[in-house]
Amino acid sequence: MSETTSEAAPAQKASPGPDAPGPGTSRRGVGHLLRWDVLVTALLLVVFLGGSLTSPSFASAGNLSFALGDLGEIALIALAMTMLVVAAEVDLSVASVLGLSSALVGSLWDAGWSIETIIPLVIVVGAVCGLVNGLLVTRLGLPSLAVTIGTMALYRGLAYVVLGDRAIAEFPQQYASLAVDDVPGTPIPYPVALFVVLAVVTAIVLHSTGFGRSLFAIGSQEEAAFFAGIRVKRIKLVLFVLSGTIAAFAGVIFTLRYGSARADNGVGIELAVIAAVLIGGVDFDGGKGTLGGVIAGVLLIGLLRNLLMLNDVTTEIQSVVTGLLLIVSVLTPRLAAVIRQRRRLPAP
């Protein structure tokens, strides 16, 4: 913070900056280690070790399977959210889409439809929800934070319209177990396995395709991206549709996993998803972040919570820990930048 430069500020946020060859590389090494997504992964390992030491049941297959299964929906939605946030947008309506999808599954099932018809239909509805968000953001140029606060109320409201105060249960066992059971021979529940597959796909898309590159460009300088011929609006629209679709799908899993369809399913998980994405080191101003960081972030939050719960740490303290983790997640790279700068200053 010794510098008062304005131009340097964004530069510092960016990549490690120009370095001399030779001695510079070792400095770069330190800078690299101080990158938040690397730190998150390290923290994750610490939690894992700590968990195994303090609680005998932590590392058991049963517990891990629970803990991972519990993360399922949040992790899935976080994939789409990561792409949105990298493109400097956000979707706060995901939890409501999840609720609406759950309500639809319930009411249609109650009306005698088969699950095979319900699932695709619900996913289409989710896509439409995303489309509405996307159109409002791209066609009218409204800020996504504002739009999705609105649709958050709208979609949740529609869930209540669909299902009211009813709670639908008793879904067929084979589907329910698909949402709960482990892949044979592993402690990994099916939804988590699905997540792994999708995460790999998302990582490749985000980091190695033109589409992914475009997201980073849009996120850091939308106008320049548009001038470079990137279809900014279309891409954003796609992202919102994707987000809605995944949220609806997560709603189906949620419903089957808990065996209960209610209009208030998943209330408030949007903040958990965003917290996970941010802890994973994605910059809320767009243009920066890695999917690996996000995955580590999701796991970190989930396992840490699990560990705290196993050690009888109360909800209050869990809340404080989550909050501190968030703050540390942005403070660390910042401090790292300062340290890096300090080291560089006495250069000849």
Binding site: S60, A167, S260, R262, V267, M309
Partner: protein
């Protein structure tokens, strides 16, 4: 104390459906020492639940058990499920749960039972095949019907009435409301009309504003039933400070400490509740008795619940605390909870 007419009516003790309780009860087994039991309320920070759980934890001290309260800060089923999983991993003897969603908690509860953990639902039931016992604060039907009677007497069986509930999905509320509606179909209530069920989400401020809305939207409203402690106190507070005081009758389920002021200033004449401390106490003993093998949860077995005496297990593994008690200006000062 004493059994309710419901459980007394369906007495045949032997015919327990063996599905959930295969083991044989030994009524004379002593309560084991050092039992680990956990209370999982709908939500921590709900004062009512805190009273219940505290009493339950104190009861555990009587029988030398170890009890604790854990729970989420939001009243959602999914957060409760995480806690059930954790408690299962920790290896407790019994889990007591006030279910946020009767079905959503079912799977994990089944898994807990598979590990030999006894499950007691209290306050708000879980599906009956996922728990061993349900400690019902009062007979649901009785609560529903008596609330209507209470209100009807105060408004001469005439006029528009409304219900201010908790969340739209609250199972216990919805059961009571069903019985209220059924009661209202009886001929003696033909002049009473239920115009609206509003939801205050068990949030003080929301309930407060819902009451406002009700009174404005239905100028001819004569009475409100709020079968939730949060709702009735918020509603009473609004009415006591508005022009509707003395014109609209409010009743429901509330704690004496919350309502004392409004009974004294005549906003509210009568309301009902059971003793939440007794509920926690009874639930705690039920869990201990299950875990010690004194009972299995079969219909007709008798639970010895310390200072509360005995209760007989009714149909579907339900134990009823007792009839609700009606508070009014004459008796309210005798209670402190």
């Amino acid at each position: 104390g004493g059994t309710t007419k419901d459980s007394a009516a369906s007495a045949p003790p032997a015919a327990a459906p063996a599905s959930s309780a295969p083991a044989k009860a030994d009524p004379n087994a002593p309560i084991k020492e050092g039992l680990k039991i956990a209370f999982l309320p709908k939500q921590i920070n709900n004062p009512y639940e805190t009273i219940v759980d505290k009493a339950g934890i104190e009861a555990a001290a009587e029988y030398k058990g170890e009890a604790k309260e854990v729970g989420p800060s939001d009243a959602s089923a999914s957060s409760q499920v995480s806690y059930i999983n954790t408690l299962t991993q920790q290896g407790h003897d019994a889990i007591l749960i006030a279910a946020n969603d009767a079905n959503a908690v079912c799977g994990p509860l089944q898994q807990a039972r598979a590990k030999g953990i006894k499950i007691v639902a209290y306050d708000s039931d879980a599906s009956k095949d996922c728990r061993d016992l349900f400690i019902n604060q009062a007979n649901s039907e009785e609560i529903g019907r008596s609330q209507v009677k209470l209100l009807a007497d105060m408004i001469d069986h005439k006029g528009e009435i409304a219900i201010l509930s908790a969340t739209a999905n609250a199972t216990n509320q919805n059961t009571w409301i069903e019985f209220m509606k059924d009661e209202l179909t009886k001929p003696e209530y033909k002049d009473m009309k239920l115009v609206k069920v509003a939801y205050g989400d068990d949030d003080d401020q929301k309930s407060f504003q819902e009451t406002q809305g009700l009174l404005q939207a239905y100028p001819d409203l004569k009475g409100i039933i709020s079968p939730t402690t949060v709702g009735i106190s918020a509603g009473a507070r609004y009415i006591s400070g508005s022009k509707y005081k003395g014109k609209v009758v409010l009743t429901g389920l509330g704690t004496p400490n919350q309502m004392r002021q409004f009974v004294k200033d005549k906003t509210v004449q009568k309301f009902a509740l059971w003793n939440p401390k007794d509920l926690g106490y009874l639930a705690s003993y039920a869990a201990a008795a299950l875990a010690s093998g004194q009972i299995t949860g079969a219909e007709g077995e008798v639970l010895k619940a310390g200072k509360l005496g005995e209760r007989t297990i009714g149909k579907d593994g339900e134990i009823i605390l007792g009839p609700p008690f009606t508070f009014d200006a004459a008796n309210i000062d005798q209670f402190d909870f």
